[in-house]
């Protein structure tokens, strides 16, 4: 089993990425931070379940963060079933290192509605299959597909608009 020092070192390596995964799913700095803290505490408690040691740590803790973020999204939906239009807060982390491509993609994420953004984040950041996303968010599979379709379509529109301005 990992020592506390190893756990902290591995967590330090992953924490920024984990936070951003939670942010992409929840759309809120406060919720992402809550999900990350909850997940880390849960990870300490369930550390004996970690199979594969150091190498397995990143995907193992990512899954815990994703689950916590999904739980928060579901809890929010029970309280306020439809999200207000202001769906995602700006990424509060310092941006200087962000590549242009990454910033562009986050720009697109900020344009998506909450439902689409959650599906995209779970599909492409958490690598969950669509069926699992549907179960996690308690949505029909068709709705998950539809949201992903819309998000990908919007990206294509955006790229085509860019291409119209930039095509060589």
């Amino acid at each position: 089993m990992l020592t506390q020092g190893e756990f902290l070192r591995l967590l330090r390596e992953q924490e920024g990425r984990l936070y951003r995964i939670a942010l992409a799913i929840t759309g809120s700095d406060a919720d992402a931070w809550d999900a990350l803290q909850d997940a880390v505490e849960a990870a300490v408690r369930s550390l004996p379940e970690l199979q594969g040691g150091v190498e397995a740590f990143p995907s193992w803790i990512r899954r815990i963060v994703v689950n916590r973020a999904i739980n928060l999204v579901r809890a929010r939906r029970r309280v306020i079933p439809v999200e207000p239009a202001a769906v995602v807060e700006p990424d509060p982390l310092p941006p200087p290192e962000a590549s242009i491509a990454a910033r562009e993609i986050w720009g697109l994420m900020e344009e998506l509605d909450a439902g689409q953004r959650q599906v995209v984040a779970l599909r492409y950041l958490a690598d969950l299959p669509l069926e699992e996303i549907a179960r996690g968010l308690d949505l029909p599979l068709g709705t998950v597909k539809s949201r992903l379709h819309r998000a990908l379509g919007r990206l294509r529109e955006r790229l085509q608009t860019e291409e119209r301005r930039t095509a060589p």
Binding site: M1, Q4, F7, R12, E15, G16, R17, R20, A30, L36, Q37, D38, V40, E41, V44, R45, S46, P48, I80, P81, V82, P84, A85, L93, P94, S99, I100, A101, A102, R103, E104, I105, W106, D113, A114, G115, V120, A121, Y124, L125, L139, P140, G142, T143, K145, S146, R147, L148, H149, R150, L152, G153, L155, R156, L159, E163, R164, R165, T166, P168
Partner: protein
């Protein structure tokens, strides 16, 4: 998944871009330290043998407290909406809200984020409709319409075994009809499952006439194909009556380009700035493209941007007309004037071309633009590279291959840029079919040379 196959390139770009973005995340030092402290506390509360079963130490109280407060605030807000909205409804509307309480909740939640919707709710700006159609076990219902001179927002529900978003695009060309005529419109949909039904809003263009009958032909709900046709009367007269269209006619953007702020439409539900361009371009060449507009009131308030759409027409001689409809939140009631500002415009310069001899290593350059180099040439295909600022459009576009007799031939071209950075290497891959017998490709020519103009162009518009 089919969509991911159809959108394979977009899906891959999304996956790659998102993961790059996530990889670049770094927690601020304070949060990082707080996280480490949480680990230590949890660790100290879990003796090795108790890791699976023993109680873990609680995280810092402030964290848990904040979460509970947020949750309570959300619950209180939702409860307030559920209680307040139906009570605030005039008696004439009670039947609809009684039957579909989700509509009141949906309207209330949207109104929290959109002051135009809030105004419409308070002033009975939504027309009440109850039109419905059933097929394949699904019921598609129309409940409310917000129609003004800048928009038509239709609130609907879908009920059935697996409530899902209606696919208004599935009919392709027969979706919306007004007064018996096809209504070609842009559209956007937003919504979610709420209390077992899909509740949402579809926003389409403003009605072509003040009043009439709107028909929606819906052909798919989620993955279920069917036919749901609803038709209902709708009018934008009431909101037209409280709208003001302020003629402006002031130029904006680079001198001589011909862009102007044509007019501003002020409504309690929305503000719309209309920017117009009319001019002449080389036949087949595109007109200019404007960057983001900003609207600021005389008291310095930046009015939130909502989106934009455009309409245009042209002829084969290169005469073009285009109008951008740029949408913003309603103006604050105390606004006496607004300033519309624009910081960048891209335009193709008529008559300007980049000519490259069709030979590896050949170069070409235009004043103020990057040098382009022909990197590879094989029969029917060439690649051209140049360095350029990522934030500006690729300057060279509209490629053709010109043969040894001076005739132009169409090509296919695809542009990529890599690696990510402020300055990127753009690569244009240009391919063409065999030329007529006896002709030899001689040059590659970019017929459209985009130049980006940056500035701080402003138009001040009194509202009184």
């Amino acid at each position: 998944m089919r969509d991911e196959q159809i959108y394979a390139a977009e899906a891959e770009r999304l996956r790659q871009g998102l993961n790059e973005w996530a990889d670049e995340g770094r927690l601020p030092a304070g949060r990082s330290a707080a996280l480490a402290e949480s680990v230590r506390r949890a660790w100290s509360g879990t003796a090795p043998g108790a890791l699976l079963h023993g109680p873990a130490a609680q995280p810092p109280v402030s964290t848990r407290g904040r979460r509970i407060r947020n949750w309570m605030a959300g619950a209180a807000a939702a409860a307030a909406l559920l209680l307040a909205l139906p009570l605030a409804w005039p008696p004439a509307r009670a039947w609809a809200t009684d039957t579909f309480p989700v509509i009141a909740t949906f309207l209330g939640l949207r109104a929290q984020a959109d002051p135009g919707w809030a105004w419409a709710l308070e002033h009975e700006g939504f027309q009440e409709v109850l039109a419905q159609a059933e097929d394949r076990g699904y019921t598609f219902r129309i409940h409310r319409v917000l129609a003004d001179p800048t928009q038509t927002a239709i609130v609907f529900t879908v009920a059935g075994p697996e409530p899902a978003e209606p696919d208004f695009w599935a009919g392709e060309t027969d979706g919306f009809w007004f007064n018996g005529k096809y209504f070609g419109t842009a559209l956007s949909v937003d919504g979610s499952v709420l209390d077992g039904v899909w509740v949402g809003v579809v926003e389409i263009d403003p009605l072509p006439e003040e009043s009439g009958s709107l028909r929606i032909n819906l052909n798919a709900i989620g993955d279920v194909r069917g036919r749901w046709v609803v038709e209902f009367p709708v009018t934008r007269q009431a909101l037209t009556a409280v709208s003001r269209t302020i003629p402006v006619g002031q130029p904006i953007g680079p001198e001589g380009l011909g862009l102007q702020v044509e007019e501003v439409v002020v409504l309690p539900t929305r503000t719309e700035v209309r920017v117009m361009w009319e001019g002449r371009v080389d036949p087949g060449s595109p007109g200019p493209d404007i960057g983001d507009l900003e609207v600021r009131t005389d008291s310095g308030v930046v009015v939130p941007f909502q989106g934009s759409w455009g309409e245009g027409r042209g002829d084969r001689d290169g005469n073009r007309w285009f109008r951008w409809h740029v949408k913003f939140d309603p103006l604050p009631p105390d606004a006496k004037a607004i300033t519309v500002s624009l910081k960048d415009v891209a335009a193709v310069t008529p008559g300007e071309r980049l000519v490259l001899p069709l030979a590896e290593g050949a170069t070409g350059e235009l004043p103020g633009l990057p040098q382009a180099t022909v990197r590879t040439v094989v029969p029917g295909k060439a690649t051209v590279e140049y360095l350029h600022e990522f934030s500006t459009p690729f300057p060279y576009a509209g490629w053709v291959v010109v043969d040894d007799r001076g005739d132009e031939h169409a090509v296919s071209s695809q542009g990529t840029s890599a690696p990510p950075g402020e300055r990127v290497t753009a690569t244009a891959t240009i391919t063409w079919d065999d030329l007529p017998r006896g002709r030899t490709p001689a040059t590659l020519e970019a017929r459209w040379v985009w130049r980006t103009y940056e500035g701080d162009w402003r138009v001040e518009i009194p509202l009184k």
